[in-house]
């Protein structure tokens, strides 16, 4: 149900965009208005969401420590797994954001005969996540060729590297393969790993199908059909220079690609995809484990009802005396 619904929405959206791209009267809507609106929603949504998080205070310093604390000088302290300084935190965050450090720890617990619990290496999820995210980044960079004139040297370099293992013509980009492979592994887990399937919501399948649709429409245009690339670039340049044009020779497939992308980015701020921004703010990762050395201030710390020594002495006066302990009030 969740799966089919998500798939159906992406299919209907693709069909709508194809029709829109085929009907002369709707090409401006799908080629100009929707993309502008989507970018606006994306930017405003992401900024507002991050501001909403940032406005909420961090009352306590609660890093999850994954290594030795800094204590006595002769004990080797884990600078990245249990950072004491700002630079240590920066290093930990860099590992987390760039290399998915925590996900790399992943293991798989299995109950065997005995009974014996074992914990095997489990790097597939990490690998698929890395493959997907980095390929997406490279594909995004490669797309800058459509939006910039002249094409920057960096983009050319990325292209050249990405097509290093050229197999036939047209040039095969490795990241296209990795991106699809990564997405398919992630989808496979959701569908066929019983635990992951059990926890999955429509909100988990939908972005996966959107991304798959986006990637497949791109692959289709690049490798299997002929698309007027010059016209696409003209249209892309028009969008970024705020002089939008929709040349007649732009294929309806381009509209599918663009509409799925528009849907993705417009959906982004309201979805779990915001983990992109959230990971930077996570208090168990981005705070130093220096709690006892530097006081953390809670802006809303308020007075509470306590039980003072005086009240305690008052209640147990006789027993304190009997036990031979000193009293404040004698």
């Amino acid at each position: 149900m969740k799966v089919l619904f998500s798939l159906a929405v992406v299919a209907v959206f693709s069909a709508l965009a194809y029709l829109g791209g085929s009907a002369a009267g709707l090409r401006t809507l799908f080629g100009v208005i929707v993309p502008y609106a989507a970018v606006a929603v994306f930017l405003a949504g992401v900024i507002l969401r991050i501001l909403a998080w940032a406005r909420v205070p961090v009352p306590f310093r609660i890093p999850t420590t994954c290594g030795q604390q800094k204590s006595l000088p002769w004990i080797r302290h884990a600078r990245l797994e249990s950072p004491f300084t700002f630079w240590g935190v920066l290093g930990r965050m860099a590992l987390e954001v760039l290399l998915f450090r925590s996900l790399f720890r992943n293991t798989k617990a299995e109950l065997r005969q005995g009974p014996r619990l074992t914990y095997g290496e489990e790097k597939i999820l990490w690998l698929a996540a890395i493959a997907f995210h980095y390929s997406f980044l490279v594909v995004f960079l490669r797309h800058l060729r459509f939006f910039m004139e002249p094409v920057p040297a960096l983009v050319r370099l990325v292209e050249a590297t990405d097509s290093f293992f050229q197999i036939g013509a047209p040039i095969l980009y490795l990241t296209d393969v990795f991106l699809l492979a990564g997405l398919l592994v992630l989808l496979y887990r959701r569908l066929f790993d019983p635990q992951v399937r059990y926890i999955s919501l429509a909100a988990d399948y939908f972005p996966l199908f959107l991304l798959l649709g986006l990637a497949l429409s791109g692959v289709l245009m690049r490798y299997f059909t002929r698309v007027d690339v010059v016209a696409v670039k003209e249209m892309a340049m028009g969008l970024v220079t705020f002089r939008p044009v929709v040349p007649e020779t732009v294929s309806p497939l381009v509209f599918v690609h663009l509409f799925l992308l528009s849907t993705l980015i417009a959906y982004f701020p309201f979805s779990k995809l915001m983990h992109l921004g959230g990971v930077f703010l996570s208090p168990t990762r981005n705070l130093a484990n220096n709690n006892r050395a530097r006081r953390h201030v809670n802006p809303w710390n308020y007075p509470v009802k306590v039980h003072t020594y005086e009240e305690w002495e008052e209640e147990f006066k006789d027993k304190i005396k009997m036990a031979g302990l000193p009293l404040e009030k004698e």
Partner: protein, 538 residues
């Protein structure tokens, strides 16, 4: 009693296949052995907490207060605006499932709602329904659901089936910490009076008397005196421990279990012997006689209410700094909450060991030092005369207690002390120690008898790792630095690995410490004959 419990071979027949029905359509079964009993009204009344009444989780009617949904939703709103952690953890989970098999309760029960991701979804689904546009509009399709009595019961069941151990947060790519979610969820449950007695009674006792069991000042003095009698019998040395003494240099605070439970008691003897041998200028306090803080399992406000005593007493007694004993969640509170809640402790001095001169720079603000930091520094500087052969009858492994491990990073100090005092030491497998350590299964206030089956299930991963080192290396002693561990690991070992005993690190210190003027020792602190001294008359 014992024959009512399921046998180990029954407990390890675990079915990890999730049910066919969607998790939103399944309800928890309050089956005997898998949940804790409700808090007695007198405890809530004493603390001034809402909705004190007689009820039990297995009752149909929970006697919830009028307008309870609104109370919870208002409470959620308030906390979403106060805790970035809570807000963020409601928003950014991608349900990748990396946390699923990291939870000891999931591994031991196979119940999918014990997967940390699903535990959090129990509350996230309500968050979506009432606090996000998508949830308001699309409802269940967006993973949202109404807050009903059944949902509340489910919260109670599963948030009192989480020990706040933080193991899942080590593996989460965004650092989502279920302990944080559970703490907030329990705060919400507390707003409508859904709490458990095994947490609330210690809280009420501690607030009134200064310790979990409600021991009054004379009882406190007697407990320490009894330990001193035993020490005298074993070593020939008489100790007269200072209590509530003004002007001492150091205030020592230990978990109260150390002076009323076993095997904690041997750790207590170890502290007393060590301080005596050092001639340390210190004092105990019968008022601030509890390092443990079950407020952590209740609410942030209750943490502060209980923790307040420590600085308050340090100020009254005029000490320079504070030393803390072997306790797990106590150290989460001291390391991550105390200074923020009840500080600044600017009336104290930066801790400096009077024996070695070492300044504990890492505690320069909070002014409180962990006993294994203190003792490892003594050993490193050669200040203790240790005879580790006196622990030769122990083949030791070390259980990293959850909070010192994952909320403090205290890994090497306890190991250093063990290795200096014991000659036989073997680590458990690497996926079960240090930051990946497994909970004893009974933390966060769940260590009660009626919850026995769930505790044994939750503790199974830990016990299984102990079984491994017992079978391979002949380990017969499970060392730890947590009072809850000492109680619960003992039950856990009796159930899963009966060949293994449980003890604290300062018990080994007490055994190995060659004290000035002591008589020749023939028994250890438990009155076991020392190796090579068997048969000699103790």
């Amino acid at each position: 009693m014992a024959e009512q419990h399921p046998r180990p071979e029954e407990l390890t027949r675990i079915d990890y296949r999730p049910p066919a029905r969607d998790w939103m359509d399944t309800k928890p079964q309050f089956r005997k052995g898998t949940y804790c009993y409700s808090a007695l009204p007198k405890n809530l009344e004493y603390l001034g907490m809402p909705n004190p009444r007689v009820w039990q989780p297995h009752d149909e009617d929970w006697k919830l207060p009028e307008g309870w949904q609104q109370i919870i939703l208002d409470g959620m709103k308030e906390r979403l605006e106060k805790y970035r952690s809570f807000r963020l953890f409601m928003d950014i989970c991608v349900r990748c499932g990396a946390c699923a098999d990291k939870c000891h309760f999931y591994v031991g029960s196979g119940d999918p709602k014990n997967m940390p991701v699903l535990r959090a979804e129990l509350i996230r689904s309500v968050y979506r329904r009432y606090f996000t546009p998508a949830g308001r509009v699309f409802g269940r399709l967006a993973g949202a659901r109404d807050l009903t009595v059944d949902v509340l019961k489910e919260w109670f069941y599963y948030f009192y089936q989480c020990t706040e151990c933080r193991r899942c947060s080590v593996f989460c790519p965004y650092g989502i910490d279920t302990a944080e979610v559970t703490m907030i969820a329990r705060e919400l449950l507390n707003l409508v009076g859904c709490n458990i007695n095994w947490v609330m009674e210690p809280v009420a006792n501690c607030f009134r008397t200064g310790n979990h069991l409600g021991i009054q000042p004379h009882g406190f003095v007697d407990s320490l005196a009894m330990a001193c009698d035993d020490i005298e019998e074993i070593t020939g040395i008489r100790i007269d421990p200072p209590i509530n003494r003004k002007g001492a240099e150091i205030l020592f605070v230990a978990p109260s279990a150390d002076y009323f439970a076993s095997p904690h008691y041997y750790t207590l003897m170890g502290y007393l012997m060590l301080f005596k041998e050092l001639d340390l200028d210190y004092t105990w306090s019968a008022y601030a006689g509890e390092g443990g803080n079950f407020g952590l399992f209740t609410s942030h406000e209750m943490i502060k209410r209980l923790n307040h005593k420590i600085y308050h007493e340090a100020r009254r007694l005029g000490v320079k700094w504070i030393l803390g004993g072997e306790c797990g969640h106590m150290w989460r509170v001291i390391h991550q909450y105390m200074d923020t809640l009840n500080g600044p402790a600017d009336f104290l001095e930066i801790p400096r060991s009077p024996i070695t001169g070492t300044v504990f720079e890492n505690a320069r603000s909070t002014k409180m030092v962990h006993i294994t930091e203190f003792t490892s520094d003594l050993i490193r500087n050669g200040k203790l005369n240790l005879d580790p052969r006196r622990n030769d009858h122990w083949n030791v492994t070390f259980h990293d207690s959850c909070n010192p491990a994952r909320a403090m990073g205290l890994f090497e100090e306890p190991r250093y002390v063990i290795k200096a005092t014991c000659r036989n030491f073997h680590e458990m497998p690497e996926n079960t120690i240090r930051e990946q350590t497994f909970c004893c299964g009974s933390g966060a206030g769940l260590g009660t008898d009626e919850n026995f089956e769930m505790r044994m299930r939750g503790g199974f991963p830990r016990a299984n790792a102990v079984r491994f080192v017992h079978d391979h290396f002949g380990v017969n002693m499970l060392a730890c630095i947590c009072a809850i561990d000492k109680a619960n690991l003992s039950a856990l070992m009796e159930y899963w690995v009966p060949e293994v005993q449980v003890g604290g690190i300062h018990e080994f210190v007490g055994n190995a410490l060659v004290m000035k003027g002591e008589k020749e020792r023939t028994v250890d602190l438990r009155l076991n004959p020392l190796k090579g001294k068997e048969g000699s008359d103790a």
